[in-house]
Amino acid sequence: MTELLKVQALTKSYQQKGYWLNRKRITVLDSVSFTIEAHKTLAIIGETGSGKSTLARLLVGAEPASSGNIYLNGQELKSGSYKHRCQHIRMIFQDSGTTLNPSLTIQELLDEPLKLNTPFNEKKRTELIRMTLQKVGLLGDHMNFYPHMFSGGQKQRISLARAIILQPQVVILDEALASLDPSLRSQMINLLLDLQQQMGLAYILISHNLGIIRHFSDEIMVLSQGKVIECGNTQEIMTKPQHKTTQKLMLNQSFQLRVKNRYKS
């Protein structure tokens, strides 16, 4: 299978403000490379400040990279070419309550990316919105509602609808499942898995919850201080973490598992 998204030596550094001589450069991401195939999920874990969210922002093009290349289907994505990029790489944010514009109805919200990126007329767009809403488990009539009329789980579904309405190839989930309640979270995981099978989406999942990662992802990438310290199959890394930082991350989670092991035996 050919790779869908290929990232090569992606680096991001900031110039710190200060006087001329003691200006410092802070490197947030240090030559990160990875590839993803369609139908696969890559999980990114790491402590705070390890550059996970920066990587997500670079991939969607919210910030320009300092150096390095991103290839989608073998074609290079340059920092200016948003037209192409925003159709194929979409992102869902952590807090769905604050990322939906409260003064627009759901139809207007979902219409925006279509207006900007597709040549469809109004009738076609409305039909597409109705279909996408049904795909994420809402009703077509929900499009006349405002975001505040929905509960947290439903808002997250609307964010998902906004992400998949342009038929993207890669969806980035930046802690998108963290703020949901457990029963809604498992609904959302089921929905995401279904959509992956139907549409052949590739996910990049940024999460703290190792249980979800184990269930959801095919590969794991562990970041620490902007560097990739471990990368590989989920099962292998979960059972035999090599690097010290990874071991520490796994150890903290194992505290929460002891009762469950007792239950199994």
Binding site: D181, S183, I189, L193, H215, F216, V259, K260, Y263, K264
Partner: protein, 350 residues
Amino acid sequence: MNLLDIRNLSIELISNGKNIIAVDKVSLSMKEGEVRGLVGESGSGKSLLAQAIVAVLDDKWHVHADRFHWRGIDLLRLSMPERKAILSRDIAMIFQEPMACLDPTTTVGEQLAEAIDSSQLSGFFWQKQQQRRKAVIKLLHKVGIKDHSVCIKSYPHQLTEALCQRVMIAIALARRPILLIADEPTAAMENTNQGQIFRLLSSLNQLKNMAILLISHDLENITHWTNTITVMYSGQFVEAGTTEQIFSKAMHPYTQALVDSSPMANQHLPAKSRLMTLPGSIPILQHLPIGCRLGPRCPRAQQDCVKAPSVSNFHGHKVSCHFPLLLSPKAKKSKLQKAKSQKLSKVSND
């Protein structure tokens, strides 16, 4: 003797003519030195219950209970100032989001010094300043902050979230409480910090024999740290028992669904398979279903569920459901017959 004994506590929201029962007849009891988990999804009223215990709810909320005892003292008979005097002496609370709860305009050291009761300081007035400072440093050491001189001088925004949480715990410990209520102490924190905070709380529990009420929305996060767990749903009591009972022998369909929906508890499931879920979403406060509030989402719901179920006790494992799981068919039958005979006797009495 029970430390805290609450029976049928209800919290009502009075809003233009229509009363909403946000918490409906919840019972909670705590023993000395116990760590109890209070689990519920958003809107289950767990934070409200905690705030009702420490009496910080404002006037629009009406709290009433059949019994509200604190170490044998009936708090409902006392006047508000008396009640608050007892509560502030014995109970401390850590609120959600430590960053937002600390005062951003004063340094951490001053906030800590403010929390220290002057009755703890012995000595003449010129010595008090020095003693207070020492007590602050001691408190910071107690919660595992070694670099006290930097911490005292800094403002909350200069510290990381885990450090802020530690400072919150230090403030709570200043009056040496008997019960500590921790409202989502690790929300939005990553694993490494979560572990640190939980380890700190459990060491305090073991060393000081301090009882802890640990509030969380996620069952899987806290099972390692608790002795007993109470589960709530949408303002109603669901189930209470030891951690083992709740986790491996859940009787309420809701608890069972919570356990089943956690990917961490179901390691035997193959990756990328579907997880068990409850259909629908959590009802909002304005449109609560009558009777058992889980009713519309419950896989075992039957006609009886439009009436609120009473709490039944199975060897200390309390469950509030008409049709609890794990009951053998025989037991169910006998229960039905019992109900029928009761109804008949009622009719004959009439």
